[in-house]
């Protein structure tokens, strides 16, 4: 049996350390990993815990990220609680197996430390990997700081493993800005954390010799569609489970999480929608602007997949103008947040004006100053009752002003 660890009431952890402790406390059975910057410390810390006798699991060093996720699929199909971590190029190499894990309905937890995708090569944070994997059929949770990285990693197990869900879960945190930024984190003690996550309940494990089972079957035109539809149905219907887990977590810790997060939205006239650490910087900016009399609010997707289509429109109900901030540049299209949120607003009664800002690629700093500008342009749209700026713009980009539409 692994030793328990005594934690301080307040620990100073970076996002990676926070995720490592969540894996430790969840008593993961198998971590199969191929470390990559900036997610490396998550599995490195975990292997240190293992070497120090603080976890009982297995740590499997494999030869690539493709093999890491394949190892996770094998271990999860065998009937264990499984987790790993990756970023960027590693995530891209895993992508084939990400779809397999979701199709086989294996509740693997993947800690994604978001980083730009080459080329050009870049180790810093943006959401290119998150965007790349968003259609893989996983539940996607987003965090803004190390505390949330800890909280949501613990919750990922409980959500994905729920017998009504049984889907893998990605827990996103921003590379470096969260993963390597140490902040105050209030963690649960080991026993409470494990009790919250609960024992792993195997479903159709390959190690049940009384009921031999085949994973990874081939289905063609006559069966494939039904299987994918079933997967989609269970994914779309996972909202109540996610909300129940959020509620149980709040009862335990007092920390509240929602499918869609709203800040200063009660009387907001304009709103900014973002993901990751930018959400918190935007909240600060909104608070400053409110001192100037600008009714600014911030909305964020805590859960990117399943996409909270109804809740996001509901959150933006009543605002006159919205700016969607994408920290990734989908090649040849408007930003993902712009496209998906506009689609949900299309069916709302008062359709607000919506603009799209691409920012922060490759770790480019998103300052409070930039955020103020975005709010002010959004306010101008609201005041004019029409768009006063092009739909797609770029923040903090050098060279001639680049815009589309």
């Amino acid at each position: 049996m692994a030793e328990k660890m005594e934690l301080h009431e307040v620990e100073v952890w970076d996002g990676n350390m926070a995720a490592s402790h969540a894996l430790r406390q969840a008593q993961v059975d198998v971590v199969a990993a191929y470390p990559i910057t900036p997610s490396t410390p998550i599995v490195q810390n975990y292997s240190q815990f293992l070497a120090d006798g603080q976890v009982d699991g297995e740590f499997v060093m494999v030869e690539s990220e493709h093999a890491a996720m394949s190892g996770c699929v094998g271990a999860a199909a065998a009937g264990g609680r499984v987790a790993t971590a990756t970023s960027s190029q590693g995530f891209a190499l895993m992508s084939e197996v990400l779809y397999q894990a979701a199709g086989m309905r294996l509740p693997i937890v993947l800690c994604v430390v978001n980083r730009a995708l080459a080329s050009p090569l870049n180790v810093n944070g943006d959401h290119s990997d998150m965007y790349m994997g968003r259609d893989a059929g996983w539940i996607n949770l987003c965090s803004y700081n190390p505390q949330e990285a800890y909280d949501l990693t613990l919750m990922s197990f409980k959500i994905g493993e729920d017998l009504d869900v049984r889907l893998p879960v990605m827990m996103h945190q921003d590379g470096f800005i969260c993963s390597h930024t140490a902040q105050s984190v209030r963690a649960l003690d080991d026993d409470s954390a494990y009790k919250f996550v609960g024992d792993y309940i195997p479903k159709n494990p390959m190690l049940d010799f009384e009921k031999p089972v085949t994973y990874g079957s081939q289905t063609e035109e006559d069966w494939h569609f039904e299987h994918k539809a079933r997967q989609h149905n269970d994914h779309m219907n996972s909202f109540p489970v996610i909300e129940r887990v959020f509620k149980e977590f709040k009862e335990l810790t007092g920390r509240e999480y929602n499918l869609v997060e709203k800040y200063h939205m009660d009387d907001a006239e304009i709103a900014l929608v973002a993901l990751g650490t930018t959400v918190e910087s935007a909240i600060l900016t909104a608070e400053e602007l409110r001192k100037e009399g600008i009714k600014a609010g911030v909305v964020s997707l805590r859960v990117l997949r399943p996409f909270p289509f109804i809740q996001i429109a509901e959150a933006l109900k009543g605002v006159k103008a919205v700016a969607t901030l994408d920290r990734s540049l989908p090649g040849g299209a408007l930003g993902m947040l712009y496209n998906e949120i506009t689609a949900s607003l299309y069916h709302s009664e008062h359709r607000p004006l919506v603009t799209n800002y691409i920012y922060g690629l490759g770790g480019r700093d998103m300052t409070i100053g930039h955020l103020k500008e975005v709010f002010k342009e959004t306010k101008a749209n609201a005041d004019a009752g029409k768009l006063t700026v092009p739909i797609q713009q770029f923040i903090g980009l050098r060279g001639p002003k680049l815009t589309f539409y």
Partner: protein, 143 residues
């Protein structure tokens, strides 16, 4: 197989080999297992056969090459009384072909290492006794 709707089957496109819980399955012969409809045991393509393998026990050395290579698990191995050093003992031996599943691909015959072969591919309509009576002689090593 009945084509069912999206809400009518196990999640994860997993397939179970058996209808009921099983015990000690490696020691139960195929014909005694309660295979589910998803098991390939239920999906024979034997009608495809135009040539069939004939087994000649007199030359067989029980190497099980054929058993390993057969793509349709159609080589039958069973406990059989054999004589070893003058003693009679029970041992797993090659006993013949499962013609309900054999598709006639000829792989078993081509991997059989004995001289002459212990498995020969013949016309589907040939009689077993006729083939056994005319079994080829030892070829010897080609020089």
């Amino acid at each position: 197989m009945e084509l069912r709707g999206w809400d009518e089957f196990e999640i994860g496109s997993v397939l179970f080999s058996f209808n009921e819980k099983v015990e000690n399955i490696p020691n139960v012969q195929q014909e005694d297992r309660s295979y589910s409809e998803n098991n390939s045991f239920q999906a024979s393509v034997a009608h495809w056969r135009v040539e069939k393998p004939i087994f000649n026990v007199d030359h067989c050395i029980d190497c099980f090459f054929c058993w390993i290579y057969c793509p349709d698990s159609s080589i039958l191995a069973r406990e059989k009384e054999v004589e070893k050093k003058g003693e009679k003992i029970m041992e797993q031996s090659m006993v013949g072909i499962d013609y309900v599943h054999c598709k006639g691909c000829g792989v078993c015959s081509s991997v059989c290492p004995t001289d002459p072969k212990s498995l020969l591919m013949v016309d589907e309509h040939d009689e077993e006794e006729r083939v056994l009576a005319n079994w080829p002689k030892k070829e010897g090593k080609e020089k």
